[in-house]
Amino acid sequence: MIESSESGVHLELGELWEYRELLYFLTWRDIKVRYKQTFMGAAWVIVQPLFTMILFTLFFNKFVGLKSGNIPYPYFAYAGLLLWTFFSNAVINGTTSLISNTNLITKVYFPRMFIPAAAVGAGLVDLAVASVFLLVLGFHYGIRPSWSLLLMPVFFLLATLLALGVGLLASALTVRYRDLRHALPFIIQFWLFASPVIYPFAIVPSKWRWVMLMNPFTGIVEGFRSSVTGAALGWHDIVIAAGITLALLVLSIYVFRRAEDTFADLI
């Protein structure tokens, strides 16, 4: 049954299930294509957060004298940058995914949501590879793995859901408003400094902390770092981040479903 958009927004979850294999193939395509004809292959995944970490260690830790408690700053920064690299790439790829798949959208039907979802999901392989290096780095700095390390996947999931929420919303808007693409690098850069990635949340004055907690990545990256350093988990902050993330995701899915009917006409 095909009806005009006036008949309302349907989530059609059954349809998503029917097409689930396509999500797998699109994700697989994005991963495959990324590593085709590369010289260093998966090494790039480590190089990006590693070099950024070295840079920040030099400037903030050595020159400025930024301290990260009892955790060595390089390990602290790498852990944050690892999750941030995944998150920011996922948001950028998710946002631009619809426009770079114009030929698919105008030629064949399938749930459009899978395009940004696959772009976000494809980064998980990189994240897994880079995480292995995190463990190596932890061993080097003598960080004893604790039970909370098992919570890593929870923060990966939260970061994925947040990237998905942002990616869905931004990609749907980009189809209509092309200049959002140009604003994206700036937003991402701003977001990095608005999250405790390269500095500890503890240095933020307490009267500003609630503002920073409105940014769900704050709770996620703090929680993730606690899980890999064995520090106590700030459950309160994590629950707030998870709540905002889920609310954003629901809103994004709704907006995306509303907008997708006109994608083929506008793109």
Binding site: F25, V33, T262
Partner: protein, 426 residues
């Protein structure tokens, strides 16, 4: 028969005009929103965006197993209709009920990635077209065999020739098994042998009782393959019925030429003080005016003219062209009792018979002239594109088609006598 596609009051509106026809930039949106109240004050309704109805109130009922040809000029709404049926875009009003899985071949190779190998692209493209992984795995060998690129299956498709690329893409699409198949002129791919395979595949799909929508500019293919044709013009259905009839209506509308033409007013008819053309028509042996002729049967070009002065010896001349402008032949009366004979004034009717199994499949236009050869050569009248007709090949016995089902090239298709001698091997 139960309907498999039911279209009710379907309309689609597009916005046109503005800086970019579809999207706008964020800056434009802000400006648009800011100035909207001022426009409302001045009583202007958003001047930047005009609308275009690509489809207007379409109602259609398609039964299971029908092969429906959709024809019409560019911009008539054919592609929009297919896009709505394949759910790529939503209708503005109205609804479509589909009782079966829809597969669309609006373009082959959708989603092919140049960096992936043939094998990888089969899986990716199959999934994009709506196949399940198990289904692709089951048909994988058939797909590869059909495409004839076995040895390059592990090569990235960016190194394929365009022919190989299209063959692989079509093979994946051809192994889709939807109840309703939408096709947009994808048959125009590959070499003759591959086209033949594609047509065989289409026959196979039809034989399995599945429904096909076929959009084409190739009128010969539509009349040959379809049992029903729909003519769209400016978003509305103009005609719906047997392909010969609909194709003919399309051609008459396009060329503004039909199977018969009359000049009731003698003073405005083509000619001079010697002879004037009053009527021309295409007829069959039974004397009926027809626009579509069975390719196996003779077709008569009949002209009625008036000799205004006695004593002139002249002959009618007919020139036949196909719709691509190829001049097939020119003919005049060289054998009848009227050749070289001065005519008495009066009304004459002459018919030239083109034998069956001579013309190829297609559309033909006829020019009419009158010429005297003695005492001196004189042209009395020359009228171009007077009448038109088409030859239809229903793929029955007795034509030069034989067992071949693909398009047959050439401007003529004579049924020739063949002889074969055999010398036994010693």
């Amino acid at each position: 028969m139960k309907p498999i596609v039911l279209i009710e009051r379907l309309s689609k509106r597009y916005s046109i005009g503005g800086l970019h026809p579809g999207y706008m930039t964020f800056r434009e949106m802000v400006a648009d929103t800011l100035f909207a109240p001022f426009r409302a004050l001045r009583g202007m309704d958003n001047p930047t965006y005009q609308t275009l109805w690509a489809l207007k109130n379409i109602n259609l009922k398609i039964e299971e197993g029908e092969l429906v040809g959709i024809i019409g000029r560019n911009g008539a709404g054919k592609s929009t209709l297919l896009k709505i049926l394949s759910r790529i875009t939503k209708p503005t009003t109205g609804r479509v009920a589909l009782y079966g899985r829809v597969g669309s071949l609006l373009e082959v190779g959708t989603g092919f990635h140049p960096d992936l190998t043939g094998r990888e692209n089969i899986f990716l493209n199959g999934a994009i077209l709506g196949m399940h992984r198990a289904e692709i795995q089951r048909k994988f060998n058939q797909i590869v065999a059909f495409s004839e690129i076995e040895q390059f299956i592990e090569t990235p498709v960016k190194w394929y020739s365009s022919g190989m690329y299209v063959r692989l893409a079509f093979s994946v699409a051809a192994h889709l098994e939807p109840e309703i198949l939408l096709m947009d002129e994808v048959l125009a791919v590959g070499d003759a042998a591959f086209q033949q395979k594609c047509l065989d595949k289409m026959h196979e799909i039809r034989q399995q009782g599945r429904t096909i929508f076929f959009v084409s500019h190739n009128m010969a293919a539509v009349t040959r393959l379809c049992k029903r044709a729909i003519l769209l013009d400016e978003g509305a259905i103009i005609s719906d019925g047997p392909p010969e009839q609909v194709v003919n209506q399309y051609l008459s509308a396009t060329w503004r030429i039909g199977a018969q033409r009359d000049w009731p007013d003698a003073s405005k008819s083509p000619g001079n003080q010697v002879v004037r053309l009053r009527r021309a028509r295409i007829r069959n042996e039974a004397g009926e005016t027809i626009a579509a002729v069975d390719i196996r049967h003779p077709v008569g070009i009949e002209i009625t003219y008036e000799a205004l002065k006695s004593g002139h010896a002249f002959t009618p001349v007919l020139d036949v062209h196909d719709d691509e402008g190829v001049h097939l032949f020119s003919t005049h009366d060289t054998a009848s009792e009227w050749q070289r004979k001065p005519r008495a004034s009066g009304s004459y009717t002459s018919t030239a018979w083109i034998p069956g199994n001579l013309l190829s499949e297609g559309n033909f236009l006829v020019d009419v002239s009158f010429i005297s050869f003695s005492p001196a050569t004189a042209l009395h009248a020359q009228e171009r594109n007077v009448v038109a007709f088409q030859t239809v090949d229903n793929q029955q016995e007795g034509s030069a088609r034989g067992d071949f089902i693909g398009p047959i090239p050439g401007v003529v298709r004579p049924l020739l006598m063949w002889t074969t001698e055999v010398s036994p091997r010693s």
